[in-house]
């Protein structure tokens, strides 16, 4: 009986890999031909995206995705982790019972709401005080940071809470201050959980489409500052997929392939970083 259950669970576990394989199959099937036709380096590093002229260079979008993702992590991770630490260790219980659900509530607000509010409130503020079109990397990073905050905070809080009490008590007994305990004992111990949250958040940031379309301006050029407008890989696919045919459609699927590898590289790098600190 136990063997049977074990096999059943194995099947379940393989399901996600199976789904991934299916998705990969569809995307690679559609996208590989154009990459071969166009040449991989030309596709990845070409700076001109003009599908109606047969030009498929996605370099500006790669830069766009990178800038926006790292911008959001730069803002979101410190904020999220410190917020999680505060809520898990220092905040009075009453506040936590209100704030933690409140943070999880933020996760449910549609990305399109954030995008729209960003267009209405954030972009004008950026434009009036910092210059540029307002619809920019900065705006997109801010909005994405708020969007991935719940994931990072939620998972980090659980990770910190899961550390056995004796870690903390032992450290305090040895004379460390609360702050030292947190920084040197608890955070490293919770590291795998926190990194899991950050990876989930990063995946969310790279894959976000609707909000980014609304707020990043979608210009097809390489940005020169965080106040410039960009187009991300996901935005490009979403905007043009509805009507692309032939080579153009294949090129969009090829963009999907690039996104795939993007994620895989980011994930492996993050996991390596997580493991090395020991």
């Amino acid at each position: 009986m136990d063997r049977f259950i074990s096999k059943l669970l194995l099947l379940a576990a393989c399901s996600s890999t199976a789904i991934l394989a299916l998705i990969a199959l569809f995307i690679f099937k559609e996208g590989v031909p154009i990459m071969a036709k166009c040449g991989l380096t030309h596709f990845l590093f070409g700076r001109v995206w003009a599908p109606l002229d047969g030009q498929f260079g996605i370099f500006p979008f790669i830069i766009g995705s990178l800038c926006v993702t790292f911008g959001s992590l730069f803002m979101g991770v410190p904020l999220g982790v410190s917020c999680a630490v505060y809520l898990a260790e220092f905040a009075p219980k009453k506040w936590v019972n209100v704030l933690k659900p409140a943070i999880e509530l933020l996760a449910g607000i549609p990305s399109v709401v954030y995008g729209f509010l960003g267009v209405m409130w954030l972009a004008p503020i950026i434009r009036d005080h910092l210059g540029g079109p307002g619809l920019s990397i900065l705006a997109a990073s801010c909005v994405l940071a708020i969007m991935i905050l719940p994931t990072i905070v939620g998972v980090s809080i659980d990770a910190i809470n899961a550390i056995p009490k004796n870690y903390k008590e032992g450290s305090l007994a040895l004379g460390a201050t609360e702050w030292q305990t947190t920084w040197r004992v608890l955070l490293p111990a919770a590291r795998s959980g926190i990194v899991a949250g950050v990876i989930l958040g990063m995946g969310r940031a790279v894959g976000e489409t609707m909000a980014v379309i609304m707020i990043s301006g979608n210009a097809t050029t390489i940005p020169h500052s965080i106040l410039d407008s960009v187009r991300t890989l996901t935005a490009n696919i979403a905007i043009e997929m509805g009507y692309a045919v032939g080579d153009h459609r294949e090129a969009l699927f090829a963009t999907g392939i690039v996104l795939f590898f993007f994620i895989m590289i980011l994930n492996t790098a993050a996991l390596k970083f997580a493991r090395r600190k020991f």
């Binding site: 996600s16 998705i23 704030l99 709401v113 995946g203 790279v206 994620i263």
Partner: protein, 263 residues
């Protein structure tokens, strides 16, 4: 430290104020069908569509995800197989929503013939939230001290009994966090839903009907500039729905934890 959380609090307050400040909701709004391109009437079909789609998505992803997490954490040691599975999960977590939308469209709407329907939407959403649930569930299971497992095993339980009676109850709050995150994600996802469930305004009468969710409704209202008031009202209803779901889930959790403490 407190300043950071104060900043966080400020963000949340802004979020809530903005959301609440846009309510032009009346009770009629919640119970009437969508009329006049969304300018009048209510959003009942969208509410029903949202609930159905989330039920399908979570109904599939939660058991599958928790089962996967149990397997990864309790039944195996780290090896080639688990690494492959984890790799799959991590990558799936990063697949952009637009690709889930395309995948769902090709597989469920066209190939399997479900058409633009709640079923197609729910299945695609399930694939999307699966990694979140697996990841958080696994973390929760791993955090259970090994003493729990050892004691149960030493009392002669099979692996499955050890898991269900000792480990799972302890890990339940963490698992629930993952499920809640998954629910939140399904409710607010727009791109996937538009591609797979379409955006019909009528009340869905079957899982094979096209329907729109509240976030799709908001998107269409706001995007085409039809009615900003109704758009924000929809957003407010959406947030309240999530609030209700979260509160229910949390009270369940508290009850479970209280039960556990006395055990």
């Amino acid at each position: 430290m407190s300043t950071t959380s104060a900043v966080c609090a400020l963000v949340f307050v802004i979020g809530f104020v903005l959301a609440g400040g846009f309510s032009h909701i009346s009770w009629g709004f919640l119970t009437e069908p969508i009329l006049d391109m969304g300018r009048e009437g209510g959003i009942l079909p969208a509410i029903v569509g949202t609930l159905l789609m989330v039920m399908v998505a979570v109904g599939i992803a939660a058991p599958l995800g928790i089962a996967s997490a149990i397997y990864l954490s309790e039944y195996t040691v780290e090896g080639k197989l688990t690494q492959a599975i984890r790799f799959g999960i991590n990558c799936l977590a990063g697949v952009p929503s637009i690709i889930f939308g395309l995948f769902g469209f090709i597989l469920f709407v066209v190939m399997l013939g479900f058409g633009w329907s709640i079923l197609s939407g729910g299945l695609s959403l399930a694939a999307m939230i699966l990694p979140t649930i697996i990841r958080t569930a696994e973390e929760a299971l791993r955090s259970v001290p090994s003493s729990y497992r050892d004691v149960a095993a030493s009392l002669g339980g099979t692996r499955w009994q050890v898991v269900t009676r000792s480990v799972l109850p302890y890990a339940l709050p963490g698992i629930l966090t993952g499920v809640i995150l998954g629910i939140g994600r399904s409710i607010e996802e727009t791109a996937v839903v538009i591609f797979t469930a379409g955006s019909a305004v009528q009340m869905p009468t079957s899982l094979f009907d096209s329907a729109r969710t509240m976030s799709v409704h908001f998107y269409i209202l706001a995007r085409e500039g039809i009615s900003n008031d109704n758009a924000y009202a929809t957003a407010a209803v959406l947030i309240c729905t999530i609030l209700v779901i979260n509160i229910t889930a949390y009270s369940l959790m508290h009850r479970l934890m209280r039960g556990r403490k006395t055990a």
